[in-house]
Symmetry: C2
Subunit: 332 residues, 2 copies
């Protein structure tokens, strides 16, 4: 049922029947190390380039997620996914191995929220099983958006660390004791005119604020309805900016946190925190999903956030538009 | 109603209420010149870079498509779209101007088929109005995928000419005398191992064949059910390859044509024909839509096709996976 302009409440049962998380070696030293299903022993994972590694990461994670749900790829209706690389090569190339209908998505680091929204809409209709998967890799993202790692460039204080990781979930209508997707609020593209490609949190926070405020207006809920409101990869600076922006609109988000702010330990020198399309999918498929399975979290507003720049748009002096999609996930 | 593994038949009415086409100057000399709504007088369109031109093309086309349907952007539920540039910058950046929920898609030149599929599914449910839009630009695509135009590189005989153009449609459930989307068949990623980035038609034809054969198997229809089966941008060589591959599977596509093969006149030196994410959306929003409005075409199987390579994947020696989504469009 659509309510308001931006929000859809899923009126059929859509279960997140299985989840699988694959983390890089640096991420395995962070706060969620005990929650990851598989940890890569190094950044290459026996591949000749980091781009090939990221293809293999997606292939492996989707395969394990299907295995865990005891579903043959042939019985899966659709794979929805994306990543940060040009032409979403990791996602498209990994889909070669599954003989499954495929749709590629791109909303930068908000892609996982887009996938969960479209996926839950399909499963609330006639589709039985849909996989949602996103990934990122520190080395491929640095090379593409900034500089090759070999240059040893110094990060700025506002910068974030792209997560090497991949998270996949399988949505299904078959009843099981798992969290359900109960709705989503689709984001608008918001541009506050920031041009600093090292300050993604600042560029994305206004989009996250807009989506979260739209969600409360559309649903009539207040922030306290949720046990946790968790954004994708704003980082600490961006999370605090979001808190400030929502407060100005009359919503005090005392239960707010951010996957990027949480994923690394404070001892790790990861700037403002993690980022990347794999940041929120990795945290969701590990920590958040397992906390919900254990009933430690019942109602979560999960808000992946994305900054829509490309290297060319940044070099041409364009500002950085942001987007965020909010997904309501509840365990009964 | 989902039938078979790949196909969904839309059981509610989903009308293509309006369409708008914007063509580049070279395209305006081709076969469909009288069908285009607006023709750009030059490739820059008063913008400082061709990338900025492509942003402006999307913004203009979506705006005109909404105007034509007499819909305020505020009353539009969703914009779905994509393009070929890294991080789909033209689509994302144009969406800044509309205050409308936005989801970015990427399936290379098959993105318009993906948008029509997801869009019709949303409108067959609770969404009222969804815009689908894709674009491409010859200069931005050449610079990104091959060489800057200033180098004057010689094209190979198998190569195609990226269309400068943009096409947008608005899907709605409000009854009107317009073509309807009656179903879609979602494609799989198919890789026959071709590595020649100049022979896109050859790389995409196997994916198109797979989707079309799946469509006939799922629906039980034969090719003659349709007045026209039209692929996105296979070019002449790719179209002939598709014809051969389907014949081997027992389907003789005597009513087959291809937007890329048709868009330029034979006098224009455009290799095997047009290509690009804007090729099929431009041809659809101009020639095909107007032919259907005039009842000259009643039943069309529209099959946008995409080649999923990036410059990096090509330089790293990877083969080129293809994908194609088939959309059933009928006028009653």
């Amino acid at each position: 049922m659509k309510i308001g302009k931006h929000t859809y409440l899923v009126d059929k049962d859509v279960y997140i029947a299985s989840a699988y998380s694959l983390a890089g070696p640096y991420e395995s030293k962070g706060a969620f190390r005990e929650y990851f299903d598989t940890v890569m022993e190094d950044d290459e994972w026996k591949c000749k380039s980091h781009e090939l590694t990221e293809i293999e990461m997606q292939r492996f994670t989707i395969g394990e997620c299907l295995d865990r749900a005891k579903v043959n790829p042939m019985d899966c209706d659709l794979i929805l996914g994306g990543d940060l690389l040009n032409q979403i090569v990791p996602t498209s190339f990994s889909a070669r191995d599954f003989n499954t209908p495929f749709m590629g998505l791109y909303n930068a680091c908000a892609t996982f929220g887009e996938a969960l929204s479209i996926g839950s809409y399909f499963v609330s209709g006639d589709f039985e099983r849909v996989i949602c998967c996103t990934s990122s890799h520190y080395a491929t993202a640095e090379r593409q958006y900034r500089y090759p790692l070999e240059l040893g460039t110094q990060p700025t204080p506002e910068s974030q660390w792209t997560v090497t990781g991949c998270g996949a979930v399988m949505l299904t209508k078959s009843k099981c004791d798992a969290p359900k997707i109960k709705g989503f609020t689709i984001g608008e593209v918001i541009d506050f005119g920031l041009c600093d490609a090292n300050n993604m949190g600042g560029a994305m926070a206004p989009a996250a604020a807009k989506t979260i405020v739209n969600h409360f207006k559309d649903t009539g809920r207040c922030p306290e309805y949720y046990d946790l409101i968790i954004t994708g990869d704003l980082g600490r600076f961006g999370r605090d900016t979001l808190h400030y922006l929502c407060k100005k609109e009359g919503y005090s988000l005392d239960n707010l946190n951010d996957c990027g702010s949480m994923i690394y330990s404070t001892a790790q020198k990861a700037g403002q925190g993690g980022s990347g399309a794999g940041c929120c999918s990795l945290v969701f498929a590990s920590y958040l999903y397992k906390q919900m399975l254990a009933d430690n979290l019942k109602k979560v507003l999960f808000v992946p956030t994305g900054a829509m720049l490309s290297r060319d748009s940044a070099l041409q002096g364009e500002s950085i538009p942001g987007i965020a999609h909010a997904v309501v996930i509840e365990k009964e």
